[in-house]
Symmetry: C2
Subunit: 152 residues, 2 copies
């Protein structure tokens, strides 16, 4: 029964004109289960899933998939690159300054009203990237605990 999972990795690869290999399928599956993971995290998840694959192969697959538009690569300042399945666009990211966790944030105001520069300095603008920085609940709790201990 196809379509049981998020999306059929094989179909995705075929649609992108790419060979269907164990590594790429594993990368897509892992990313479907753990979105916004780094290459190393994916490598770990893939290994845990019982698929033997080197870290370099993960990098290679991610690079190819990104180049073919199957994945999107995000590179928050101060942490390794993270990847996500290119599902519906039009969302942005919220990054934790503590643990670098990334979550999706829907674009509030529908499309791109205020998301074009006033003066583009002659540039032809192709893309707008919106990133929110904050503290995730876990890190906030941890910080509170640390403060209490420090005060005690």
């Amino acid at each position: 029964m196809p379509g049981s999972d998020v999306l059929d990795p094989t179909a995705l690869l075929r649609a992108a004109g790419l060979k269907v290999t164990r590594g790429r399928v594993a990368a897509l599956v892992a990313l479907g289960e753990h979105s916004h993971s780094s290459a190393e995290q994916l490598h770990t998840h893939i290994a845990a899933g019982g698929v033997p694959m080197t870290l370099q192969a993960v990098y290679l697959s991610l690079q190819v998939l990104t180049e073919h538009g199957v994945l999107r690569r995000i590179e928050p300042a101060g942490s390794a690159a993270r990847y996500e399945l290119r599902v519906g666009d039009n969302h942005h990211h919220l990054v934790c300054t503590g643990c670098s966790r990334v979550v999706d944030v829907d674009c509030m105001v529908g499309e791109a009203p205020c998301l074009l520069p006033a003066d583009a300095h002659g540039f032809s603008v192709q893309e707008t990237e919106l990133t929110f920085w904050g503290v995730c609940p876990d890190c906030a709790a941890q910080a509170a605990t640390t403060r209490e201990e420090g005060a005690a």
Copy 2:
């Protein structure tokens, strides 16, 4: 006559409670003349200005100045970190996908109307970062030339 240049480096350092050293002054002057430069570019500029300083010292100064809020550090995906004097806030950046050149872009819609996430997933949002990606005039011209040559 103070204030002749963009801003007096010495005053900036004193205001931040930092020692006034040759290296820091040189870094500030270089940044004033070449905003959005990387550490290595600044190192080159400083050396060209006749101030002997190692690259590591540049990194160190930039780090300290950033931590003390004198500078802002921006890290566009795919290029080295860049720095700018923290003048009036409320502007964003436009990065060239070809040469990684960075230019300032004023925040159009005044403050932050659409710049808060709809659902923060429990995060306490501290900052919003808006980056535009495009092709600068130079790179566009170069691309056009290359295409012509390819076609000829």
